[in-house]
Symmetry: C2
Subunit: 388 residues, 2 copies
């Protein structure tokens, strides 16, 4: 195990009617709550009404920021910050998936900046350290990003076609509510893309140095297997409570730091996908399904043993008579086939991104020296051409 | 997944020279530190001197409580409480394994009680709730109990021959230092017993309801495998840094709550072992090696599928042509054989506990209704007879 620091103080309430815990948690905060959410789904499934009732019964004043969509934008962050200032908000309560929670985290941080001019440049580009954020809490309706138990947010700057992240210890939610029943009404497409996002998070961490035997990687493999098994069960029967509960906790576990300890993490497939979806408003999970297996095949040289381990223990590939190199490639082919089987696109063509766009997307990709080697914009273009 | 609440705010610093982080952490506490430790091993390996130097350089006044041995006793807790009161202690810094940390937790809680009369009865027997404890932090030298990242302590009342636990959210260490190099000088026996203790913790959690597919159980299986693999590597070469690091983090992960979410946990093998070692001062890990496989074989009926899963995925038993019942028993036999192979006792006879003591030990065992069924004192006696 490499050296690490682990600290995660988020309180998780998981299970049926876990939302009732909001009542006693609310007493720690002032009276003004900014309730943030996305489209109308929480109004249709009754969750909106339940949250509002609890907030009112606890004597809170509610301000609303609605319409936070996938790939939340800087404009929405700014709208939220204005509401925070006008209404002297004490707590942001995010009800939704990763986009709503991420947007709320950015609002929480930006609204505490003394001077928010150039906040995009200072936080998302230069990663300037901040020393506080407004308290926030989350009620999760879509298991995917793990945002409910970590410090990160990803925001899209639509004008500059950039999708960057910002991380701060002050962005940890004070508490998060995970009730699998809120996920029962998710459309099939969202279950699929959410689960691919979960798997992709685990890949970004597992497929990075160190390769040597370590606890984090072993737990990562267990989580990948659990996601795949339970995704198939949930697609067969969307009301399978066990499967939905497992997927929900898998999503949180994938990014709450536990499988990240001692790992370098590369996040290069996400960086390519962020460039993709900054140009084309495709679902994050769709972009990942296209990019991830191709990216991994591109970089697996020199790490065949680790990829073979994944192929055998997660994808169930029979190792008899095969080299690690063969197993690695077979495992990645099987991964792409799994994505296709569950209905995700696996080529850029399928989502209508033209080959002519590849150069510009590669140019926009934030290239870094990963733990598995340096990836240039030329490499990204080569990967994207293989995704076509 | 069953409903659960998860909250663990312990900050972990892991890796070589992680102890340097003590410096900035100390600034959050007052000047008077109670330094607690066990025998002389930390004086021999230089750790004592390093800790004292750091404390002095940070301007702290040091009071010492030494000689905290395995199965720490109420008398030692009381000695610590007196030192806390006489010296107006602001922080307890525990340097050692689970016994030192557990004893320090009890001191932290008892010294904050307004009236500590009957503290044994009130806390350890009746589990009375407390609302504060003195801050404590840990520097781990023996990976085993996971005490460095949880709320529990186990204390022995030698006069009453009882070994009971107490748990309080205020007993979470503020921070814990895990540097695998401090474990390099552990005697072989301690590596063995510490690792059996880790495995046993995972068994107590995994082998409990629910049996249905859940994230916690999948992570538990991954940890068990990691412990067994790395224990053998560490015994082959005690200076194998990777193996020692993995074992150290396995110990913490086994009991920091992560594999416990949604699980009922039974802890019945520990309860039997606690009765054993309240009568006979044998190492905790030795008692567990004797009791655990026999206890599991005694209760596995009706849960063969789960036991078979363990046998195949952790113990590497070939499932071809075998029933789950057969696999379950074969897996437990292999577990006992593994304990024997690494040098642990697997019968009461080997540790000199006479058959005539069984009735009294069973009588002392705290029997509970476990999630796998009720275990009476007669059952415990039957299990202990099979351990002979």
């Amino acid at each position: 195990m490499n050296a690490f620091t682990f600290y995660n103080p988020v309180k998780i309430y998981f299970g049926k009617d876990a939302i009732e815990n909001v009542r006693h948690e609310l007493s720690a905060f002032g009276p003004n709550v900014l309730l943030t959410y996305g489209g109308g789904s929480i109004k249709r499934n009754g969750l909106y009404e339940r949250v509002v009732t609890i907030l009112k019964e606890c004597g809170k004043n509610i301000t609303e920021l609605s319409g936070i969509m996938a790939n939340p934008r800087t404009t929405k962050v700014e709208e939220g910050v204005s509401l925070v200032k006008e209404n002297h908000i004490d707590l942001i309560l995010a009800v939704g998936g990763g986009s709503v929670i991420d947007c709320s985290k950015a609002i929480a941080t930006v609204s505490c900046m003394e001077d928010m001019t150039d906040y995009w440049e200072r936080l998302f580009v230069k990663k300037e350290k901040t020393n506080r954020a407004l308290p926030l809490a989350a009620i999760v309706t879509l298991p995917a990003t793990g945002s409910e138990m970590n410090t990160d947010c990803v925001i899209t700057n639509w004008e500059e076609q950039l999708k960057y992240s910002y991380s701060s210890i002050h962005q940890y939610p004070r508490f998060s509510i995970l009730d699998p029943q809120y996920t029962f009404t998710m459309p099939r497409e969202q279950i699929v893309y959410g689960s691919i996002d979960i798997l992709s998070h685990i890949y970004e961490i597992y497929f990075s140095m160190p390769d040597e035997n370590n606890v984090s990687d072993d737990v990562a493999l267990a989580l990948m297997k659990n996601v795949m098994e339970n995704l198939e069960l949930a697609l067969d029967n969307p009301l399978n409570e066990t499967a939905r509960g497992n997927l929900m906790w898998d999503a949180t576990m994938a990014l709450n730091g536990i499988i990240q300890v001692g790992k370098q993490e590369d996040w290069m497939a996400h960086k390519i996908e962020h460039a993709l979806s900054a140009f084309y408003d495709i679902p994050h999970g769709a972009g990942l399904a296209i990019v991830h297996p191709v990216y991994l095949a591109y970089i697996c040289k020199g790490h065949y043993e680790k990829f073979a381990h994944y192929a055998v223990s997660v994808m169930g590939i029979d190792p008899t008579g095969k080299t690690n190199h063969e197993l690695a490639l077979e495992g990645l082919k099987a991964t792409s086939a799994f994505f296709k089987k569950i209905g995700a696109p696996t080529t850029l063509r399928e989502v209508g991104i033209p080959a002519s766009a590849i150069a510009a997307i590669a140019e926009k990709t934030l290239c870094i020296k990963t733990s598995y080697g340096e990836l240039t914009k030329e490499d990204v273009a080569a990967i994207l051409r293989q995704c076509y």
